[in-house]
Symmetry: C4
């Protein structure tokens, strides 16, 4: 499909019979994520980078009911993070009225540019939020979720796109503070990614998590492993068990 | 469709191939709400106001198994709240025997007349009920659920139909006392809506919640955001965490 | 369909295109109950009495995978409780090898004969079992679950087949002790039903619950209301809240 | 189907219209197990032994999305446990790139050779993991989960393939320590199976459980009964209730 064609018919970018085409996948995965409680009430979503194109769900809509025709497409440029609101650079904008670009766009871009990720998932999972509440920031304003000795750690990749962790590794995920506007998280997320180059996700206090991977499959399976670890960590903490060390607990 | 047609063939009001027609939507949404645990055992439901017509599910039936032919249609009149039991004013009554108008009708009317809502959802969610149990009434008989510093607050609109709250706002939802007969809640709900003009919902102690919006999508996504907040608030309270202030907790 | 036909072709009893035919309904409802966690691992089920015929799922099979051809049919006789194991009286026995009649048969019969029920549901719901664990027997060996001031109480009928309770009523469900063999519960269940003529269900300690109704819809919606009340009662008790009295709690 | 045919066309081993053919069943059951939270994030799975053939899902893929063409087939030999990585002995290897044999293979083999099992399920259920955390090893490094007086115990078979337990029996499941590499669990699992000849499963600390049966139906229903017992045991322990003895608790 040539660039010329796309400019003449931008909908060619989102029209495909292939269920694994990003425009179709985003809709299917959002329905799945809704059942998991990750994108309830319009929150959360997934962005997929496919070659030079980035596919994005719209903002503020029911994620379990989106249709490929609702998908935005942006060009992927390593150096230019798109500012939300500026529609200048879109390759494809939905014709349906009232659909807005996701405010998460620059956050997804962090994963694409800093980790060469091909997909980034944002969930509002209650397990993620409860976990951040159990990890208050220290005097320097820093907080980190750490857990060890859990089989599911083996499903997480170093930096999200590297090789998988071993059972003997301690998983570390930074927790950043939330901001009133989602795009203002961009700076905090990129700083956390610099400080924690091995982390495959960033937790946002009282908000949720951003998880990425070298493919949509990697992003999804890591989001599942992490959500499992968030959930069991909350249960363990509420039962008085240490998260790190593998000690017997009762 | 002319008024003459409706009087000659009231079923024209509920017969449509459009999945977004209120008679079809109510059935689909009730199936979805059943999966969420909101309308188990015949409780709860949704009413949609479409122009001058109000669509209502029947009372006391399995909400996940209703059919468009079971739907009641009332004329919407700003000043005349229909009394349950009076069938005089119906535009369409199901022909199937034993179906009764919902006792929630005057409560849905509160949302339609006082907030210009187009849809009102009533759930028996356990999260809502547990939350009311954690908020006993004060000496004056008043109780209010308050929560702040949660991303999901941004999904709630001022008064249910206004602009969305900011992350810096504290969400306030009044809790009214339950009454033996559902229609007797009408007065308490309207008083609470007068006292809390910004609230997009009313909780009913040991019973559930009424949530509305300027469209069915708004009502549904706000019901989801609120149910999420009720659930996490119960978890936070049981873990000894304050709901307001955004302080670190452990 | 004449008796002669049934004897010539017993499968006529379970062959129907009507989704509400008992043989079809039992399969559909068992799939639904599986999703609710009521009949996991072959436990639990539903029996429907339709005129002079009683339809029963087989014992010890995956309840979410049964087919109408697996259904047993017994004649309903007010005075003759069928003993499990005696196949003499069956109107229809599945031809598939290895299918056994449910050991719950005489317990379902209690509901059919003592309350004129048309359907009886048996669940292994964890909410029911946890609730029995929170209600130890007194010195006389008796235990009763009591709850008041819950909207969902209004979904329960007096004796399971009478009129519905009011919000002002206290719900009472007897808890009987479990026995190694399910059919040995028959006597304990019938004694509890005599002592509690208004109860619409019997809880079995460390086992589950039997719920019935004047129709399958009544049995199912009451099973849902009760399971909701069992669940919230467990949460309330673990949070230190009283189940009866409607007092404020924190 | 002759051996000659299989060698000429190994895909004949996984191609069937019969939904109960092992290659089809494994895919269907993995989708079901995903909904139960047992195989989230690529973890867990099921292996079925059918005559002289053992069917295995691939490692490290989304278990809810596998297709019969992804299935590995090994010959079943009582004496030769296949080493992971050695592909010499496969009867059928998926042609799709990147699919690896499950590291659980020698663990499934334990069930096939030591108990004559026909199916073995491995789950990462959080109930299993939480239960192991509540049962620290003793000074000799041993730990055992014991529970009695639960109706669901009657769904478990002696040794997984024998006759079912009675309500009066105490269920015992050994808990072995996890190892960094899954195949290194083989030795610990077989030792535990020797020490506990009546146990129908082996729990792995901070990891999950292995359950087997004389058929896939037995393996699945026992996995469900055990997961139910793990879940209620965690709830009981956190509520301060003893798991063994059947005493009243509050």
């Amino acid at each position: 499909m040539s660039v010329t064609n796309i400019h003449e018919d931008p909908d060619a970018l989102i029209r495909s019979d292939d269920p694994e085409h990003p425009a179709n996948l985003i809709c299917e995965l959002c329905r799945d994520f809704y059942k998991l409680g990750w994108v309830t009430g319009t929150g959360g979503g997934i962005s997929i980078r496919h070659g030079d194109h980035v596919y994005l769900a719209p903002s503020g809509v029911q994620k379990e009911r989106i249709h490929p025709s609702h998908i935005f497409v942006l060009p992927f440029q390593q150096t230019a993070v798109p500012k939300p609101g500026s529609k200048r650079d879109f390759l494809r904008i939905p014709s349906q009225k009232g659909l807005k670009e996701s405010a998460c766009t620059p956050l997804f871009w962090n994963a694409f540019t800093m980790r060469d990720a091909r997909a980034c998932i944002h969930t509002h999972s209650q397990h993620a939020v409860m976990l951040t509440l159990l990890h208050p920031a220290d005097a320097q304003g820093n907080a980190t979720f750490r857990i060890s000795h859990q089989e599911m750690i083996k499903g997480i990749r170093i930096g999200g796109t590297g090789k998988t962790l071993s059972y003997l590794d301690t998983l570390e995920i930074p927790i950043i503070e939330n901001t009133p506007d989602e795009e203002d998280l961009t700076e905090g997320m990129s700083r956390a990614m610099e400080r924690y180059p091995d982390a495959g996700a960033v937790l946002v206090r009282r908000h949720g998590v951003y998880v990425w991977g070298g493919s949509w499959e990697q992003a999804k399976t890591q989001a599942e492993c992490l959500d499992y670890l968030f959930e069991i960590a909350v249960k363990m903490r509420l039962a008085g068990m240490p998260l790190v060390g593998g000690d017997a607990a009762a």
